[in-house]
Symmetry: C2
Subunit: 382 residues, 2 copies
C-alpha cells in the first residue's frame, strides 16, 4: 500500500467535497438551473479577482486565456514589452510573435525578478509600446514578480498591464482593481483546486476599449461574445459544465476561509518550505523574490542526475513534485504549496525529500528539514 500525494504547481489536489461533485449527473447548460449556478460563480470570481469587472470563463486551459488576451487586445505590428523570467514569460513572447506583434522581450536570469529600473529603462526607450505582458508568479522558476511596481511604471507611461496570474490569483494578494491591472488571467487547476479545463480572464475598462480597436482575427476566444453571454448568465459556446459545478464549490470554500486567510496560509506553507530547504543545506533558485506558490530548489552538486529527485519521490514514495522545464531540466526541482494544501502536506513533502536526498547520496541529517518546517509552524501566529 502506497498513498499518493501531489505537490505540483498545477494540477493541485482536489478537495474531497469538490471531487464528489464530479460524480453527479450532467446538467444541461441552457437551463435556468445552470444560469442560477453561473450567477453565483460570477460573484465568486469577482471576489477572487478583487475586481468589479466581469470575469470571463473559457473552456480552455490557461494558455487559451493568454492567447485570448493577445488576440483580443492588439493588432498586427503593435509593440509590446514581454518580461521573460522563464518558460511562461517566454510564452508571452511566442504568442505575441505568432500574432504578428512586435514584442520587446526583457530576458531575465532564471530565478530573478524584474528590476523596476530595468523595466523603466526599456519602457523609456520604447515610447510607442502599448502594453507590458508579464507573470505575477513565474511558475517555472518560483519567482514572484513586483506587480505593484510594474503597474506603477505602466501607469506613468500609459501602458496596459497584461498579467498572467495563473499561479498568483488566489495564492497571494493581487487585487486587480486596486493594483490597476488591465488584464488578469488564471486557470482552474491552481488555487481554484479543480481539474484543468477552465481559464478565466478579466479586463479593465481600458482593456475593453482596446478590444474594440483590435484587428486580429478571433472566434472561439472572442471576449466580446463572452461578455454579452455573461450578462445573461451564459457562455458564448458550450461551457465545461461539470468543471463549473466544481468551481461553484471551490469559490465557496475560498469565500468561507476568506481571501486574506488563504493568502496567509500559503505564505506560511511557503516560508516553512523555504526554511526546510535552507536547513537541508540546499539553495533556493529565487532567493530574492520567492513565490508563495512554488519553491524552486537547485539540485545540489552531489547529485549528478537532477531528474532523479522528482522521479524517486514519485516512483518510490508516491509524492509527485515538479522538475525543471526546458533549460532548467535536471537543474532544479519544484515543491508546490498552494491550493488544497495544509501543514502536513509540507511535512510529507519535506520528509519525502529527506529520504530521497539520502537515497541519492546527498548527506542528510534526518529530521532537520522537517524540524525547520515544524519550527516555522510553531512560531506562526496562525
Amino acid at each position: 500500500m502506497k498513498k499518493t500525494y501531489l505537490l505540483t504547481p498545477g494540477p493541485t489536489p482536489l478537495p474531497e467535497n469538490i471531487i464528489s461533485i464530479f460524480a453527479r449527473p450532467i446538467l444541461h447548460h441552457r437551463t435556468p438551473q445552470f444560469q442560477a449556478l453561473f450567477e453565483g460563480v460570477k460573484t465568486g470570481l469577482k471576489y477572487l479577482f478583487q475586481t468589479k469587472q466581469d470575469v470571463i470563463v473559457l473552456a480552455s486551459t490557461g494558455t487559451g486565456a493568454m492567447d485570448a488576451a493577445v488576440s483580443n487586445l492588439f493588432s498586427k505590428g503593435d509593440k509590446v514589452i514581454t518580461i521573460n523570467g522563464g518558460k511562461f514569460g517566454e510564452r508571452w513572447t511566442k504568442i505575441s510573435k505568432n500574432y504578428g506583434l512586435n514584442p520587446i522581450e526583457i530576458k531575465l536570469v532564471p530565478g530573478n525578478a524584474i528590476e523596476p529600473n530595468q523595466l523603466e529603462t526599456t519602457v523609456r526607450s520604447n515610447t510607442d509600446t502599448k502594453a507590458i505582458l508579464f507573470q505575477a508568479s513565474e511558475t517555472s522558476t518560483g519567482v514572484k514578480m513586483p506587480t505593484p511596481e510594474i503597474c506603477k511604471i505602466a501607469k506613468e507611461y500609459n501602458l496596459l498591464t497584461i498579467c498572467d496570474a495563473i499561479t498568483a490569483c488566489g495564492v497571494f494578494d493581487l487585487p486587480m482593481d486596486a493594483f490597476g491591472l488591465d488584464v488578469m488571467i488564471t486557470g482552474s487547476q491552481k488555487a481554484l483546486m479543480i481539474p484543468p479545463g477552465l481559464s478565466f480572464i478579466a479586463l479593465s475598462d481600458k482593456a475593453w476599449a482596446m478590444r474594440e480597436r483590435s484587428e486580429l482575427p478571433k472566434f472561439y476566444f472572442d471576449l466580446d461574445k463572452e461578455r454579452k453571454a455573461l450578462s445573461k448568465n451564459q457562455t458564448a459556446w458550450t461551457p465545461a459544465i461539470s468543471l463549473i459545478q466544481g468551481l461553484e464549490e471551490s469559490l465557496k470554500m475560498i469565500k468561507e476561509e476568506g481571501l486574506q486567510n488563504v493568502f496567509a496560509r500559503h505564505d506560511l506553507l511557503a516560508r516553512a518550505t523555504r526554511n526546510a530547504i535552507q536547513a537541508l543545506g540546499l539553495e533556493i533558485l529565487a532567493s530574492k523574490s520567492p513565490s508563495p506558490a512554488v519553491t524552486a530548489v537547485k539540485v545540489p552538486p552531489q547529485i549528478k542526475d537532477g531528474k532523479a529527485i522528482p522521479k524517486t519521490m514519485r516512483d518510490k514514495y508516491g509524492v509527485t513534485i515538479a522538475g525543471g522545464q526546458d533549460e532548467l531540466e535536471g537543474k532544479i526541482f519544484r515543491l508546490s504549496h498552494f491550493g488544497y494544501c495544509d501543514r502536513f502536506d509540507i511535512t510529507t513533502g519535506i520528509s519525502c525529500l529527506e529520504l530521497t536526498l539520502n537515497d541519492l547520496g546527498y548527506p542528510v541529517e534526518f529530521g532537520k528539514g522537517v524540524g525547520a518546517v515544524l519550527k516555522t509552524f510553531a512560531n506562526a501566529k496562525l
Copy 2:
C-alpha cells in the same frame, strides 16, 4: 420525488461507470501514468474516427476545434464553400469571415439536406475554391447531410472536405478515411458520453500539407504543436485531465459494444422516435433526410407557445429536451436519441411528450406514440 432525464443532443447523459471516474483524485499530466492512459485514448480515437491519422485532443468545446480547422488550414482571402443548413452550418460561415476568408455560403431551407446537384453547380462556378465546410449532422434541424456525395464532388474538383461531425461521429457510420474526409471534428459531450470540455480533430495527409501553407495566426489551437506532443503521448498545453480519464472509459465502452452495433442502436432509437412522432400526428422537420442523432419536430398549430413544450417537459416532468434555436425558436422541439441512450429512454421521452401535448391542448390518444415506439422495437432484429 421527481427523477430527471436528459434527451438533448449534447450534453448527453453520463454512464454510471464513467461518472465514478470523475470522483478520483487528480492525476498529474506530465507523468508516465498519464502517457500510458493517453496512448490508449489515441488508439480508441482512431477506432472511433475510423482513421489511421492521429486524432488531436483539444481542451476546448467543439467550436474551438472548428476555429482550429479554419485557422490552421487557410490564409486570408481563401475562398471556401460553406453549407448552411442551420445554426452550425452558419457558424462555418461566421468563422471563415472572422478569419478573412471568402466564404461562398449555400443557405438551405431549415430541415433540408444539401442536394448534390446544387453543391456541384456552386463548385463549378467557383473553381478557385479550396474546401467545402459542412456538418455531417446539422444538430439545429436534425438533418443528416449526404457526406459520401459531398466527398465525391470534393474529390472530383480537388477540394478539401472539412466536416463538423460533432453529432455524427460515433452516432452513425462516418468512416473518415474510407469517405475521404480531410478534416473531421467531434466533441466530448456527444456520442462520447462525457461532459463538455474536450474537442477532437483529425486531419488527412492533404490537410496536414495545407497546414504547412496556412498563414493565419494561431497559438493555443496550433495543431502542429499538438501533433508533435501527441507523438510523445502528450498534449502541447495542460490537458483537461479528468475528462481524458473519463474518455478512456467511454472509448472502451464503444469498442466493447462495437461501432456498428452502436450505429444500429442509434438508428433503431431514431426510427422509433420518428414513428412515434408520426403516430401522434406531428411533423418531422427533416422528413427527407433525418439525422440518427436528433429528431426535430414542428410545433403543431394547436400549440401557440412552442417554447412551452420543452419547458413543460423539463419543469413539470423532469425530462430535458431541446427547443429550436435562432429562427427556429418556438417553432420546433428536438428529441435526442444517441450516446448513453437505450430503448426505455425513448419510451420515457415519448411518454412525457404525450402528457405534455395533452397538457397544452393538443389532442392525444394516450399510448399511440409509445405504442409506435414499442412496435418498432418488437420488429427490430436487434
